[in-house]
Amino acid sequence: MIREYQTVTGIAGPLIIADQIEGAKFDEVVDIELPGGEIRTGKILEVEGDKAMIQVFEGTVGLDIKSTKIRLKGRGLEINVSPDMLGRVFSGLGKPIDGAPQIIPIKKLDINGAPINPAARDYPNDFIQTGISSIDGLNTLSRGQKLPIFSGSGLPHSRIAAQIARQAMVLRGEEKFAVVFGAMGITFEEAEFFMANFKQTGAIENAVLYVNLANDPAIERIATPRVALTAAEYIAFELGMHVLVILTDMTNYCESLREVSAARKEVPGRRGYPGYLYTDLATIYERAGRLKDKNGSITMIPILTMPDDDKTHPIPDLTGYITEGQIILDRGLDRKKIYPPIDPLPSLSRLRDKAIGEGKTREDQPHVANQIFAAYARGREVRELLVVLGESSLSDVDRQYLKFAEQFENQFLSQGENENRTIYDTLDLAWELLMILPREELKRIKDDMYEKYAVVSQSNHAKKS
């Protein structure tokens, strides 16, 4: 039985308040019919007595108090899923926008999902080769990991995400890959860039796109990542594919959340964001992972632009507390025309140590990576010292570190947008660069590793120079 009410008593921002409603459930979906017959989707945020507070995904423009009709649907927000989703483009609420007809659902799934039982999870320790040295070599991505890109406005995060989506592969065997792309409030150009990229490489066949553009209703964005992840869970855990989920831009998502929170007159936390931002983000990010008894996996790369490049802003800050590391883009490197401008020092992959080394990539990687971090950090310190004290104050070792830092940035960090380096290329390159420094400085490298790999690199190095 569907009940219809015409009892709206208030409209404020993205919310409407309705009276005399019977049997409304928390988190239930409602249809909202405008005088002209247009139907919008809403969700109940709070029920008290016979009052219900409803959030309207498409915004409240054009709604009036007298003639707006509300129909309770008696269920949560659901999307249709089927294997035919692959290759299709949908709106941020999961309606097709590519001109093709509705998909025939095999199942309807609630977009909120349910939390994965920690005891059912399998640990993400399968190395994913992205072909980008600074990620593979130093801040490795694992299958089932959630690794966000912290970017700033004007930095090439989209190009990096597209490159990862194109090149990502595992070292052993052929596996079925799919990409789920959730766009929240990005520009038409950005969305077009991804679509063109997916089409060009044929990746579109195994991709599902959920697109909410900058001029689409802002509140719809609150549903978009959940819709995308529900689709991803279906593809991963029921169709058994390895899904890479790209969510861009999480900052827009958080702003929509703040808008609703402000309209509800909630006590704000930092910078006006609601106090439950952490929990809310966690319900999105934590949907990445692997399950012990399923083949598929969900690997997530959320992208967010840090307002004013500030990492302590609530959005990157809370994200960093939930995700397993972060890839940070640096404006200074970008200015030097280094692509991808990933600063390896503040970047981090928490799952790296379990995904690399013997049996995973190559035995020397943990040591090499640590040594590169230490050496590059020292090189950057020397560079700062140089600015303050001048060149004459540098010792010989300092100069070697300086040289290392330069070459590291130009050869290791920098690579082409279509250059796909294997992990072995990346590691050999790292050894070659470490040869700039004297043996005593390479404290993180044990003798046996040095004997085995450095000697080879030294001769390569000599040949090149």
């Binding site: 019977e22 049997g23 409304a24 459930k25 928390f26 988190d27 239930e28 945020l45 709070e46 029920v47 008290e48 007595g49 949560g76 909120n112 999902g113 349910a114 939390p115 994965i116 039982n117 920690p118 005891a119 059912a120 999870r121 399998d122 640990y123 993400p124 089932g144 990991q145 855990f237 909630e266 006590v267 936390g269 930092r270 106090g275 439950y276 952490y278 929990t279 966690a282 319900t283 934590e286 949907r287 992972g289 990492k311 302590t312 800050d317 809370l318 960093g320 507390y321 939930i322 972060q326 503040p346 981090l348 928490r350 971090f373 230490a374 950090a377 303050v388 004290l389 104050s393 404290k443």
Partner: protein, 582 residues
């Protein structure tokens, strides 16, 4: 049975009217599915209920029933090696009941009702017993003997005591007409009492050099680890849970990552206790309420863990509890407080944040347990804090510092340089050092506190010298000052730096720690003498023994004493030769 009716639903908060026999903190079943909730406010006929499960689909008019019991844990054999959610539902059972994703309204017993345990009586018929006296034992795991104690409030004569295999609900004894099963219940929010609380006297040995040597935690103490994300809080917590010399470990993943809990779940059963060579899981209870699980249960998880910890402490064990992270717990408090429309304190946290934190950390302690045998037990709490933006002035850190006596301040700059554990030696402190001095002197090394103090002095001097170097360069320093810079580099890189992933380096015994530090301090003292005798600093920096020192932390434990003593001798000899050449 009469029921109450829901009049309001807002996220995890439900308000109901006319709940029969509603009492503060009683557990409530909400809606047709019977979701679990707890009363947190009563006003007239209205009860505010925080619900431990997702409330989607709950509406006005749905029924509410009180169970008449406050939120309690089940205590008895079978706790160890379990993994629970925040309200003590075993996750493995939930997995069987609802599959990979946690569905709602499932109720499962915390302790297996079918499993039989071999009960060995210790008390005899006719014994006069009171609360806390040991009735008998059960070998719960190969590492821990579970002592069945007389439950609170029971006193009298043992009329009957059994021997053999029993489930947790079958009676194993009869005391003054009352049948006693192994299973007991305890309300989580109420601390279990000590007979007498005592000052701490022993360190909790963790095998982590910077912690044991510089900022020691005592058995029965409370420590806090604040740090921004990516500074290695979780790795430190895991190291402590793995290596701390406690008998029982409670690890609470409170609002943290699901994959981290999986890591613990997969790794702990494989890790071996260094002393007994048994699986570490056999002494561990895990409580996992990951960030995407309902927040009200996150609030409860800390208390659930504490009650279990105190139960093992009462048996006379040393228990260590790690909570990662208390910030997420405080956020759960904040969210519920906001929904109750309470007046917010600092940064939106409720005004009672400080009291609640104090109440939690004060449950730690060392003392004489209830029971006539005067056994002693300890309960250590290690809480990590995740301050937003790494800002230590925020309310959760500040309120925690007022209570916790050990502070391990994690430093982003150190993590940046991949110096782990990234505990900043200038910021951190331990207020237990005086209490523990005798222990170290008698059990480890005579010169322990001298070595420690000398290392701390050098490190703080280095910080001052670094300022000067930054302004005018290294050449402006005197020979002695340059020597300090050289030696502190060794302290930092060869002593404080410790790899959590190297099989040898991840754990150092106290004796190895002392010897290693002694070598470095000797390097300083001897070099200083040589410098005064006219030896050039450059020559001292080129000593052959330096490279041995830099690899000394990797010497396996069984050879450590011998090799470190040899290094110390070689060092003195080499310096003497230099002095002779002047």
């Amino acid at each position: 049975m009469s029921t109450g009716k829901i009049i309001k639903v807002a996220g995890p908060l439900v308000v109901a009217e006319g709940v029969p026999n509603a009492r503060m903190a009683d557990v409530i079943n909400v809606g047709a599915k019977g979701l679990i909730g707890e009363i947190i406010e009563l006003k007239g006929d209205f009860a505010s209920i925080q619900v431990y499960e997702e409330t989607a689909g709950i509406g006005v008019g749905d029924p509410v029933v009180s169970t008449g019991r406050s939120l309690s844990v089940e205590l008895g054999p079978g706790l160890l090696a379990s993994i629970y959610d925040g309200i003590q539902r075993p996750l493995n059972e939930l997995l069987k009941a609802s599959g990979n994703f946690i569905e709602r309204g499932i109720s499962v017993n915390a302790l297996d009702r079918k499993k039989k345990w071999d009960f060995v009586p210790k008390a005899k018929v006719g014994d006069k017993v009171a609360t806390g006296d040991i009735l008998g034992t059960v070998q719960e795991t190969s590492l821990v003997e579970h002592r069945i104690m007389v439950p609170t409030g029971i006193k009298g004569t043992v009329e009957e005591i059994k021997k053999g295999s029993f489930t947790v609900t079958q009676p194993i004894a009869k005391i003054s007409g009352k049948e006693i099963p192994m299973l007991q219940r305890w309300p989580v929010r109420k601390p279990r009492p000590f007979a007498t609380k005592l000052p701490v006297t022993e360190p909790l040995v963790t095998g982590q050099r910077i912690i044991d040597t510089l900022f020691t935690i005592a058995k029965g103490g409370a420590a806090c680890i604040p740090g921004p994300f990516g500074s290695g809080k979780t790795v430190v917590q895991h190291q402590l849970a793995k290596w701390a010399d406690a008998d029982v470990i409670i690890f609470i993943g409170c609002g943290e990552r699901g994959n981290e809990m999986t890591d613990v779940l997969i790794e702990f059963p494989e890790l071996k206790d260094p002393k007994t060579n048994k699986s570490l899981m056999e002494r561990t209870v895990l409580i996992a309420n990951t960030s995407n699980m309902p927040i009200a249960a996150r609030e409860a998880s800390i208390y659930t863990g504490s009650a279990i910890a105190e139960y093992y402490r009462d048996m006379g064990y040393n228990v260590s509890l790690s909570a990662d992270s208390t910030s997420r717990w405080a956020e759960a408090l904040r969210e519920m407080s906001g929904r109750l429309e309470e007046m917010p304190g600092e940064e939106g946290y409720p005004a009672y944040l400080g009291t609640r934190l104090a109440g939690f950390y004060e449950r730690a302690g060392y003392g004489v347990c209830l029971g006539s045998d005067q056994r002693k037990g300890s309960f250590t709490i290690i809480g990590s804090v995740s301050p937003p933006g790494g800002d230590l002035s925020e309310p959760v850190v500040q309120n925690t510092l007022r209570i916790a006596k050990v502070f391990w301040g994690l430093d982003y700059a150190l993590a940046h340089k991949r110096h782990f554990p990234a505990i900043n030696w200038l910021l951190s402190y331990s207020l237990y050092l005086n209490n523990l001095e005798d222990y170290f002197k008698n059990s480890v090394a005579d010169d322990w506190s001298k070595l420690r103090n000398e290392a701390m002095r050098l490190l703080s001097e280095e910080a001052e010298l670094e300022e000067i170097v930054r302004l005018v360069g290294l050449d402006a320093l005197s020979g002695r000052e340059q020597l300090i810079m050289f030696v502190t580099k060794s302290i930092r890189e060869d002593f404080l730096y410790q790899s959590a992933f190297d099989p040898v380096d991840q754990y150092s015994t106290l004796k190895k720690q002392a010897s290693l530090l002694r070598v470095i301090i000797t390097l300083y003292k001897e070099s200083l003498k040589a410098l005064e005798a006219g030896v050039e600093l450059e020559k001292l920096k080129e000593l052959k023994v330096i490279s041995q020192i830099s690899r000394a932390r990797l010497i396996p434990e069984e050879k450590a004493q011998e090799e470190l003593a040899a290094i110390e001798e070689a060092l003195k000899e080499e310096i003497n030769i230099l002095k002779g050449a002047v």
